[in-house]
Amino acid sequence: MSLELTVNEQSCRGCELCIDICPTKVFDLDSEKRLCVIKHPEDCIACLSCAYICPSNAITHTDYHAVKNFYRDAEFCKRMGKYL
């Protein structure tokens, strides 16, 4: 699985919310274009906070591990049975 991260330049408004929220400093601001750019894609941990906070839905992640909604995961419930 190799994570891919993209920013849609036409949607980005340069609000910098993604820059502020990213814990691993993946983004930077292109001050000329007033747009957010991806500076260190290798540091993205796919926490998805940037995608959730972006007001214009400009950020997309593909090919990442989506967390299990564990109580709806039959296999996990089976394993957790011993605690119930």
Partner: protein, 164 residues
């Protein structure tokens, strides 16, 4: 018990746990974190009983991961190396530092699902679990700071203090 019943029971248990944690935090404030932390330490020590001893942090983390997996705990994690760091492990004044990423976490998923705040007492239980397990495995004190609680992953800083 049928799997669908187990699923419902599990969901109920986590709703209940989230509500207790949230209520305790409201009632007694930050002390709730200490109580959960200590509960986590006891759990970590108990679960890691009989695990091999090592002074290597990466080996100790692997052993902790095995303890979690063996007990069917959905708290799996991976080490993370930022681009500006030469290796996964970093030595500083406080001790040995490793950044960890937690993905599938039953605590995070429950808290988000039911609208409770992150980084509270249940997260401190996880911190306690690591502290307890690493006390057994490395005989050293540690801290697990939550740098970021994201929707799909959490980013934490583990510091294993120097042996005195």
């Amino acid at each position: 018990m049928e799997i669908s019943d187990k699923r419902l029971a599990l969901q109920d248990a986590m709703v209940f746990l989230g509500a207790i944690a949230s209520g305790t935090e409201q009632a007694i404030g930050e002390s709730a974190n200490s109580i959960s932390y200590l509960a986590g330490v006891n759990l970590g020590k108990k679960m890691s009983e009989g695990v091999a001893h090592t002074s290597d942090i990466q080996e100790a983390l692997e052993l902790t991961r095995m303890v979690l997996e063996k007990n069917d705990y959905l708290w799996l994690f991976e080490t993370f190396k930022p681009h500006d760091q030469e290796s996964i492990v970093k030595e500083n004044e406080a001790g040995t530092e490793v950044m960890l990423v937690f993905r599938d976490c039953m605590i995070r998923q429950s808290l988000f699902r039911f609208g409770h705040v992150q980084k509270g007492s249940l997260c401190n239980m996880m911190y306690g679990f690591f502290a307890g397990a690493l006390q057994n495995i490395m005989s050293r004190e540690s801290s697990l700071e939550i740098i970021h609680a994201g929707e799909n992953a959490c980013y934490k800083k583990l510091i294993v203090r120097r042996a005195e």
